[in-house]
Amino acid sequence: MSNLPNETLIPHIGVVTDVRIDTPDVKTFRVVAPEGGVCFKHIPGQCAMLSIPGVGEAMFSITSSPTNTDFMEFSIKKCGCLTSWLHMMEPGQQITIRGPYGNGFPVESDFKGKDLLFIAGGIGLAPLRSVINYVRHYRSNYGKVDIVYGSRSKDDLVDYNEILNEWCNEEGVNVYLTIDREQEGWDGHVGFVPNYVKELGFDTNKTAIICGPPIMIKFTLAGLQELGFDKTQVFTTMELKMKCGVGKCGRCNIGSKYVCKDGPVFRCDQLDELPNEY
């Protein structure tokens, strides 16, 4: 039916070419189109629907930066039926992929020329990694970059090698790592992310981007506000149940917004306008 118009619900095939074990429950999958290259273009913060037919379909943020045109990456935490299945995959496995969905981060507008403060907890680094690497790629377009990243333990830090070997070594990029509890072989900071952010005490001329568990976002935002940040300076990304990805199936509706279409990236003052139902 080649004469039929494009239908976003009909996915592309993606081939998993590499599976990286990040943490005990997070793996990062490298996905390419069967003919090579990325399945579609995206902007940082956008998502894609990944599916194993017969198992399920779900929305995942694209972890790789759009500057990488060879492949896409998805860091996925094992938490349900589909993700368990994905975690059992070996290279060569095909999946289906459709997207990109959502608004993505305003990397070409609001962020441009700004000092950026990235704050992530656990798997919350996944959507931010795309932006961070994008910003690193177009380094001159942005100001100073600070990254605060925390996890339950050292073993739960996603992309630890990339952080250590690349981010930490890059000029103009400061990385602050923390883990929740003392651990052997860890001489870095210990403590929860929101507290660490307050301890570090950042300048309020930065634009902050937070991602992590809801409770961490809540306290970090409060911490930033204590430091003098305004909600208009803080961005975050949300996660809700999604089916269509294009604002039609009605599931990710919060007030008049659809997270899949109008989000997942929201400025915190925009969130305040939404009914408290997320």
Binding site: I52, P53, G54, V55, S84, W85, M88, M89, E90
Partner: protein, 666 residues
């Protein structure tokens, strides 16, 4: 799509048993194309050492997470292949068998058909295996102590045998003495030896055996736990006589002024004192105070027994005592009683004292009985000249008044009674009304024929229609089916062979043990033919008449059989549980109790558990089912009765079976 596995498929030729009709190579090839299958091969004899080592090697080489073996019936070699897999580090429950011999190659002649079916069966096994979970058989300890409920001959025999094997065993007997029904008997058929002479030594053995603890005048309060680990609470009722101090001198009994209580041991044919020892050979030889009869308990006065007891054993203040103990196994030996004859008015049992039951007659004939063994009429103490025995009173009764079953022992004891009467009192005329005379047993028919031929007992095939008083005679109207006429006999005594029924206590006990009972209150066997002394509830065994009517030798045989089963159980240090048991998803369970009702083993109980819920309350208490994995036998009755699907069966899960269905229908 289930999940990703690495599965190896092994197709057995079974020499030519399979290979002659099934193209084994084609099966292996077809399986190789299935998702998740990483290795498929065929081999002459999978069950041989060579075959098994192929499995082991493939598991290691290909990192298999599951194995399908297409071979003979799982009933044949499932265990073999599971062991082989286990030895290579694979969970034994990650092995599935496709039965392509008994269910395929041996029954189909067409090679095409058989091969196609073998492929389907292999896919079916694969579909199930894809959903298998590694299972581990749990273990539980075995408490090396047995409990015997009931201190009759069945209980005594079981206890003695268990104790003989070196295990501690407790007998709980609700009456003040062990001995049971057999102690009431005079002579035993077909040998006519004295019941007391053969029973009392056993009672003494039980009392003296240091492995045996007797709890007489005690009742079961509750039982919890499961095979190997039962916890029983026993209520030791207050005897008001200190067992440790009492010497059994019997003086208290002599002095007791209250003498109106019916003597249970003598079936109420005479009376006893308020403080009493049921019979001379009672064990323990310690009296008990019947508080309903005792003047002290009724009025606060008297106390003669206490005053006369030099051992100071009388203790009016004594209270019931609850004893809690752990047991590995339980033997139920609760015995029987004759049925109540109230509903058999036609025999005039309740109106006429000279109409007695066989057990009463037993006491009358007994030298230690109320008449000192003299055959006299209870009404006037006169010697009877004509006695009519009526068999099947309430047995084989489909009218609803009695019992539908045959009480089994009546034919023989009636013959015994008739014979004993004729021997001791040749002047007494003896008639026996019977429906059938059933004498299957060693020397039984000879015994019966002796009664007829040697002792001239008048056996009349027919039933008694009515017994009525005529002066001091009892007019017995009956039919003689062989002569086809109505007959009337003027008798002095009528003896009714009342049906026997399980002791009513058994209902309570069965509920405690979750052992099932049939419509006649007999305990159900785990299997009527192959496991006749086991209850379906693991760890509970059956001994004696509680399971069904039987005579003394049969009872003793069953008692020993039950003991053997108990010994077999207690000999184990650990019990390996069947891992294919039910389990309930607490997030889905409604707590409706449907599963509990259909569980034949009482493996399901309920508990209240706190759950997090949305809303301001945050938590709520819900009633949920919990499966005791040690008790569950894995039948799956609960899984289907559960509407929400909370209950599932490991190894035969709903999803697994549906995957099998899907694979067959693909």
């Amino acid at each position: 799509m289930s999940s990703l596995h690495k599965i190896g498929v092994f197709v057995c030729w079974c020499g030519s048993n399979i290979a002659a009709t099934v193209d084994v190579a084609a099966v292996a090839e077809a399986m190789r194309a299935e998702p998740n299958v990483v290795y498929a091969t065929d081999y002459q004899y999978m069950c041989s050492e060579g075959g098994q080592s192929r499995i082991r090697e493939a598991i290691k080489e290909y990192g298999l997470t599951g194995v399908v073996i297409c071979s003979c019936s799982p009933r044949m070699h499932e265990a073999t292949f599971r062991k082989a897999a286990q030895s290579a580090g694979l969970n034994p429950y990650m092995v599935e068998i496709a039965n392509i011999r008994e269910h395929c190659s041996w029954i189909h002649k067409d090679r095409m058909d058989a091969t196609a079916k073998a492929i389907v069966l292999a896919r079916t096994a694969l579909a199930k295996l894809n959903l298998n979970q590694p299972l581990t058989a749990g273990e539980s300890n075995v408490v090396k102590r047995a409990l015997v409920i009931g201190g009759g001959i069945a209980g005594i025999q079981s206890a003695l045998d268990i104790a003989e094997a070196g295990y501690e065993v407790d007998i709980v007997e609700k009456t003040p003495t062990i001995g049971g029904r057999m102690a009431q008997l005079d002579k035993t058929f077909p040998t006519l030896d004295c019941a007391a002479c053969i029973l009392t030594p056993k009672m003494v053995d039980a009392a003296q055996n240091e492995k045996i603890t007797l709890y007489t005048y005690s009742e079961m309060e509750s039982v919890s736990g499961f095979v190997g680990n039962f916890t029983a609470k026993i209520r030791k009722k207050a005897r008001h006589v200190n067992e440790d101090l009492c010497t059994g001198c019997g003086l208290c009994q002599e002095k007791c002024p209250s003498r109106k209580a019916k003597n249970e041991f003598n079936m109420g044919l005479n009376t006893r004192t308020a403080i009493y020892i049921p019979f001379a050979q009672a064990i323990p030889n310690v009296p008990v105070i019947d508080t309903e009869q005792c003047i002290h308990f009724k009025t606060g006065k008297c106390g003669l027994c206490q005053m006369n007891c030099s051992a100071k054993a009388i203790d009016f203040e004594q209270q019931d005592e609850i004893i809690e103990r752990q047991y590995g196994a339980i033997v139920v030996a609760t015995g029987f009683r004759p049925i109540s004859l109230e509903r058999f008015d036609e025999f005039g049992y309740s109106q006429n004292p000279d109409v007695v039951t066989s057990l009463e007659f037993e006491r009358i004939m007994n030298a230690a009985g109320p008449t000192k063994g003299q055959l006299v009429r209870p009404s006037d103490g006169k010697h009877p000249h004509c006695i009519v025995f009526v068999q099947c009173v309430g047995s084989r009764d489909t009218s609803g008044c009695g019992k539908p079953y045959c009480s089994k022992i009546c034919c023989m004891y009636t013959a015994k009674h008739a014979m004993l009467v004729r021997e001791k009192y040749p002047d007494v005329e003896v008639h026996v009304f019977y429906i059938d005379v059933r004498t299957p047993g060693k020397n039984f028919d000879e015994f019966y024929r002796r009664a007829v031929e040697q002792y001239d007992v008048d056996y009349i095939k027919g039933m008694v229609g009515k017994v009525s008083s005529h002066g001091d005679k009892l007019q017995v109207q009956g039919s003689d089916l062989i002569a086809d006429k109505q007959i009337i006999i003027d008798a002095d005594m009528v003896v009714l062979a009342a049906a026997i029924e399980p002791d009513p206590e058994v209902r309570k006990i069965a509920t405690m043990l979750t052992a099932s009972i049939d419509t006649n209150n007999f305990l159900t066997e785990a299997h009527p033919k192959l496991r006749p002394v086991e209850s379906p509830t693991a760890g509970v065994f059956l001994s004696g008449v509680c399971q069904g009517p039987k005579d003394i030798p049969e009872t003793v045989a069953q008692a020993s059989a039950a003991a053997a089963k108990v010994i077999g159980l207690l000999a184990k240090d650990k019990l390996k549980r069947n891992p294919c048991v039910a389990h309930s998803d607490e997030m889905l369970c409604n707590g409706c109790s449907a599963c509990e009702k259909v569980c034949p083993y009482g493996a399901i109980s309920y508990m209240d558990k706190e759950f997090r819920v949305p809303g301001p309350k945050r938590t709520e208490i819900r009633r949920i089912a919990v499966v005791n994995e040690a008790v569950c036998q894995g039948c799956g009755a609960c899984t289907v009765t559960c509407p929400s699907g909370a209950m599932d069966l490991k190894g035969f899960s709903t999803k697994q079976i549906m995957a099998e269905v899907d694979a067959i229908c693909r």
